[in-house]
Symmetry: C2
Subunit: 212 residues, 2 copies
């Protein structure tokens, strides 16, 4: 049976208040985490690391740098999507190595693919676009993650309202070369969240879809 995608999308909303007493079960979390791992990306490069923060103290430290939005502290699992600021060629090689590991064959046999991706990378770098490109990929993860969560009856709140430099500092990302791209708290909506019952606002299909 086909899952009711539209019901899930109509049910979801940007959760403003999580019920901090409700935690995602280990079994359900495992599915959601694996869905993140399976996220598609251009060239399969997977230019990301997903931090999953449950430590209450660490989350409280982050709140003031997310405009005091309590979702950061009150959700069940705080997913912080981070991306490399500069995607070096070593990233391509790690991907090639993984391809060989999973599919067999040799890195030499993938030299054509490697050079194509490296050429693309150099083009991006010359336009100063490496970090932006990685961020775009992380938004694929964000979009997929929110739908996956909704299908599992979990609430999310995509958040761009935070100070990346402060997050990077508190999370100790600076030495790693990664930076915070976007946040997605996940968990269960509070019964008190009045936003949950507001009608969803979307433009009409005729205003955003054009057939040719």
């Amino acid at each position: 049976m086909t899952p009711d995608i539209l019901a899930a999308l109509n049910w979801r909303y940007a959760c403003k208040a999580f019920d901090s007493s409700k935690k995602i079960s280990a079994e359900t979390w495992q599915k959601l985490e694996q869905s993140l791992v399976l996220t598609p990306s251009s060239f399969g490069l997977q230019p990301w690391k997903f931090l999953v923060v449950q430590d209450p103290e660490l989350r409280e430290k982050l709140v003031p740098h997310a405009w005091n939005q309590r979702q950061v502290a009150d959700c069940s699992h705080l997913v912080i999507m981070t991306v490399p600021k500069a995607l070096g060629e070593d990233y391509i090689d790690a991907n090639i190595a993984r391809m060989v590991e999973v599919r067999g064959g040799t890195a030499d046999a993938l030299a054509g693919f490697r050079n194509m991706v490296a050429g693309f990378r150099t083009g991006l770098e010359s336009k100063g676009g490496l970090e932006t490109w990685a961020k775009l990929q992380s938004y694929i993860a964000l979009g997929q993650f929110m739908l996956a969560a909704a299908l599992l009856e979990l609430d999310t709140c995509p958040m761009e309202g935070f100070i990346p430099a402060k997050f990077d500092e508190i999370l100790g990302l600076e030495a790693s070369g990664y930076t915070t791209a976007v946040l997605c708290p996940v968990g269960y909506r509070s019964a008190d969240d009045r936003y949950a019952s507001l009608p969803k606002v979307r433009f009409e299909a005729k205003d955003v879809i054009e057939h040719r």
Copy 2:
């Protein structure tokens, strides 16, 4: 019953060859189109128009500007995600008007929200980031769309390999202020696509997920 998200994600792959004889039914397409309409975006601004191209002649004209990738012509429905190059304040007002239409109330009552979004917009503009921000939002749509399609047993191929200026010209977007952000052909895989049976390559969870 919870849908099997992981099965869908493991089944999907970047389809290299579509079966051009197979078309998505009107009923299934309607669901997928509505899922696009329901895509979340920052502030609910929905900075996008989705072009759905079925005209074979128009698609053939696009192929050479997508590195001759045949998916553009051979899929059932070619989804072209476009975004405004400059998101003006009129975009915010259109969203406010829609909020009033759907939820009632007045635009005046939403002045605080409007000013907050306008302030955010001005900040983006001063950093030259309006188009990039809109593109990020369109990648939320892309991520959600690919999972929705997979759950409906439809194949997709996310494509960044195309020349936006040529696409914009052929699609007649220049006067509209929109530009092509990303492509997502959708339809049914060809029985001949050898990529369909290759094992999926993803980094191990321990390499992309970090718990804190």
